[in-house]
């Protein structure tokens, strides 16, 4: 949730305001004079482009949601090549999609400052992996800045633009979940006033060809950064030289070290080197630091990136300090940093035990009831639960578990919840757009089961389209369930080609996914209403008979959006009632749909409806075999 737009545009230097890390990045772009920004939504990065989008018109910054990260990268690259400062934003895994373009843009070079802002997600709170973009910066041989708090988040964009223009290289800025989604006090600077007139050279070609001279130039540019790396503003040495142990703490790691050293009372016993540039390394600074301490602990989120680099650097030293971190068991190799992990590691090397739970608290909570977890669920009225129910009805022998009768390849979106019980929908669940690609292979290996691909509109436009074209090309027999909820729902309802509107609010062609499928040559395309389960079952049954790819489009507005629309139109939601005499307590509705608005009463062994959560979709009425549920009114009517 981004804050009020006006807040980002106040031109009040030195004023201190509260900003979320992602808002601070957006403010930084405005202060740096970024003129073009593009991105693809993904937690924890989405609020950056959303915040910029909310002020884009007023600030004169062209901002767009692109259909995927690679396209977003290319859009922003064009801005840079035209001489204006440009920004591309995505989450960790987005960099994978954009990598193909980065691996040429690095050598082809840039003109206006070109910043690639990547938000990593250590722990994978909202991601399918824990990748670390610092490793990618090394592969692409481009500079990477690692800010550690909201203030540095804001300042990093200007620094990255300056660095990019000085070296003519793309510059990556790395955020992490605990920076993007942390609010803190940030001191503002002036908004940029200078607007550059874009100009594309009429003689220069931006290309990686010929390869060798471009690659050589890339190395020269990177090598020229040696001194800049050592003097980079986010670097900080805190110590006197005689401390027991040295701590290397980039990014958010620094915040945990400072906090936990205070709690442990060991501030005087440790020296800290905070490093702001992960590529190229400030080798001189690191070498000096390593020379002072016998033991050095690396506190970093993500891969043991600095830890490995430090091991490389000590190779050149006469006296080699011990390097401690994830490779020596001082931190786990998976997951994110926490105050407790940092407290324990600092304590163990400083000879002070860190008690995460005080004895007094241990005594209190020793023998008390547990706090049971709240399980995640789809939203009330979500069309995915309808579609999943219908698929299980259509496939033979799959009423309880679809995988008994079919192979289902899943994709990235809210429907990721289908991974968990009671749904258990998928055999595979890889990355954006992979459902149709993997289903293509499944259809060819001879499994003797119907093959499904399951994805949404946003994912289809993102990377699902080439895979569907491939399925047509190779006549892969599969049923593609394409759920069009008219938004990118999972990340907070961003615009995509299905919406009919751009991020900046301009009208856009509303692309119908069924038209795309037909144009690709898909032999069977039908559009169904997921709220009509009988119809969906019969269409899926028919689609399974097609000797090639069949696309079943389920079109229903995301229930959360529909709920807003219902309110806007003043329609009253009338939840259905469940006749407690007719309800046999068979639990088909609660176990198959798992709608959060259906309540199972352990005592009466009957189901009732939560009137606050219910949106009146009517799905529970359709699945009830006893006809105990009346029809309601609400989102089904918009």
């Amino acid at each position: 949730m981004a804050s009020k737009p006006g807040m980002l545009l106040q031109d009040t230097p030195d004023k201190k305001i509260l900003l979320m890390g992602n808002e601070a990045f957006a403010r930084g772009a405005l202060e740096a004079g970024v003129q073009l920004a593009a991105g693809y939504p993904g937690t924890p990065s989405s609020e950056i482009i959303e915040s910029l989008g909310s002020v884009a018109r007023e600030a004169g910054v062209y901002t767009e949601w692109s259909v995927n990260e690679k396209v977003a990268f290319e859009v922003a690259y064009a801005g840079s090549v035209s001489g204006v400062r440009s920004l591309v934003v995505f989450k960790s895994v987005g960099l994978n999609v954009a990598m193909d373009s980065l691996m040429v843009a690095n050598a082809a070079g840039v003109e206006g400052g070109f910043v690639i802002l990547t938000a990593d997600d250590p722990y994978g709170h909202s991601s399918q992996n824990e990748q670390d973009c610092r490793c990618f910066a090394r592969v692409a041989e481009v500079p990477l800045i690692e800010p550690g708090d909201p203030q540095e988040a804001k300042d990093s964009i200007r620094l990255a633009c300056d660095l990019s223009e000085r070296t003519k290289l793309p510059v990556i800025v790395r955020s992490v979940t605990r920076l993007s989604h942390v609010r803190g006090d940030v001191t503002l600077e002036n908004l940029a006033v200078r607007k550059k007139t874009p100009f594309v050279s009429e003689t220069e070609v931006y290309s990686g060809f010929p390869c060798l001279p471009h690659h050589r130039m890339l190395h020269q540019k990177l090598d020229s950064l040696g001194d800049i790396a050592n003097e980079f503003p986010f670097n900080r040495f805190e110590g006197k030289g005689g401390e027991k142990v040295g701590i290397v703490a980039p990014g958010v790691g620094y915040a945990y070290v400072k906090e936990m050293a205070r709690i442990l009372g060991i501030q005087e016993e440790i020296a800290i080197l905070k490093i702001g540039l992960a590529n190229p390394l400030p080798v001189g600074l690191i070498r000096d630091f390593l020379g002072k301490y016998g033991r050095v602990l690396v506190v970093e989120d993500g891969f043991p990136y600095f830890e490995e680099e430090l091991r490389r650097i000590i190779y050149e030293l006469d006296v080699k300090p011990e390097i401690l971190g994830k490779l020596t068991g001082h931190f786990p190799r998976e997951g994110e940093l926490t105050p407790e992990l940092v407290g324990s590691a600092l304590g163990s090397i400083a000879g002070k035990e860190y008690h995460t739970v005080p004895q007094q608290v241990k005594d209190i909570i020793a023998d008390v009831p547990d706090a049971p977890d709240r399980s995640l669920s789809l939203c009330a009225g979500c069309a995915h639960m309808a579609m999943w129910y219908a698929m299980k009805q259509a496939v033979k022998g799959a009423k309880k578990d679809i995988r008994k009768g079919a192979v289902v390849c899943g994709d990235i979106g809210c429907y990721g919840l289908g991974l968990f019980p009671p749904y258990n929908m998928y055999n595979t669940h890889v990355c954006m757009g992979a459902s149709i690609g993997v289903a293509g292979g499944m259809s060819k290996v001879g499994l003797g089961k119907p093959v499904f691909a399951y994805l949404g509109d946003g994912t289809f436009f993102h990377t699902g389209m080439p895979a569907l074209q491939n399925a047509v090309f190779n006549n892969s027999k599969m049923v593609v369930i394409l759920q069009d909820n008219l938004t990118t729902a999972m990340t907070g309802h961003q615009e995509n080609p299905s919406v009919g509107r751009t991020l900046m609010g301009d009208a856009a062609t509303q692309v119908k996914v069924e038209n795309v499928a037909l144009a690709m040559g898909v032999p069977y395309v039908k559009v169904v209403d997921p709220y009509n389960i009988e119809e969906v079952v019969s269409v899926i049954t028919e689609a399974m008979e097609i000797d090639g790819p069949a696309v079943v489009v389920g079109r229903r507005m995301c229930a959360e959006l529909a709920k807003r629309e219902v309110r806007r139109r003043g329609i009253k939601i009338v939840p259905p009632s469940i006749d407690q005499n007719t309800c046999t307590g068979c639990q088909t509705c609660v176990s198959q749909l798992r709608c959060p608005a259906l309540i199972w009463d352990q005592d009466t062994k009957k189901v009732s409806v939560d009137h606050i959560l219910c949106v009146g979709c009517g799905l529970c009425r359709q699945v009830c075999k006893e006809e105990a549920i009346s029809s309601g009114e609400g989102v089904a009517d918009v």
Binding site: L18, H125, G184, Y256, E259, I263, P339, E340, Q360, R374
Partner: protein, 195 residues
């Protein structure tokens, strides 16, 4: 050694307005000249999950997350969420302000701990435990959705801001029905006078 300032945890379930409340506290803290760190877990907030925000206010603080059992106060928008975070974050002597209305959701009534057992554990920590029927008070102010403002009002006496700063940042943070929200805040404040 101890910071001037405080650590507050607001705990609820998706849709209860925890994020808005924490932003209001954060803005009041910045205006009062404090350093602030607010960390939010809201990835799945629309999907019935727990939502927690850590609000750390002080002069010498850095960590985005609250170290276990260092929170001065839990503001629980829901009893089980207040309890969950008490078990994890409350420090000895720490305070709990809790809305008394339970949301059973996916937990179900059977697995849901008894209210009296949960508040008994909270009392063991030795600070104030202030139950507030915040929905009732919010309804009286005009809309049950203003429960979060009632809760901020009830917690205000333990916060290191003067009341004008806090209500000022409430005014700035609320988009609609500002006066009704202030009334809700005031009902909360009045309910804490019994402590």
């Amino acid at each position: 050694m101890c910071n001037k300032g405080t650590t507050v945890i607001i705990a609820g379930v998706g849709g209860q307005g925890t994020l808005l409340s924490s932003t209001i506290l954060g803005n009041a803290a910045v205006k009062s000249g404090y350093k602030v760190r607010i960390s939010e877990t809201f990835g799945m907030s629309q999907r019935g999950g727990s939502v927690v925000t850590h609000i750390r206010i002080g002069e010498d603080l850095y960590s985005p997350l609250t170290p276990l059992h260092t929170a001065d106060m839990i503001i629980g928008f829901e009893p089980l969420e207040a309890y969950r975070n008490t078990l994890k974050f409350l420090k000895p002597g720490g305070n709990v302000i809790l809305n008394t209305r339970s949301i059973y959701g996916s937990v179900g009534k059977k697995a849901y701990p008894l209210y009296e057992e949960m508040t008994a554990v909270m009392r063991q920590f030795g600070g104030h435990v202030l139950p507030v029927d915040a929905i009732e008070l919010a309804v009286r102010a005009g809309d049950p959705i203003m429960m979060n403002m009632v809760m901020l009002g009830a917690a205000a006496f333990l916060l290191p801001f003067n009341m004008d700063t806090l209500t000022g940042s409430l005014r700035e943070g609320i988009k609609r029905n500002v006066e009704a929200n202030l009334t809700a805040f005031d009902y909360g404040l009045q309910s804490s006078k019994s402590v």
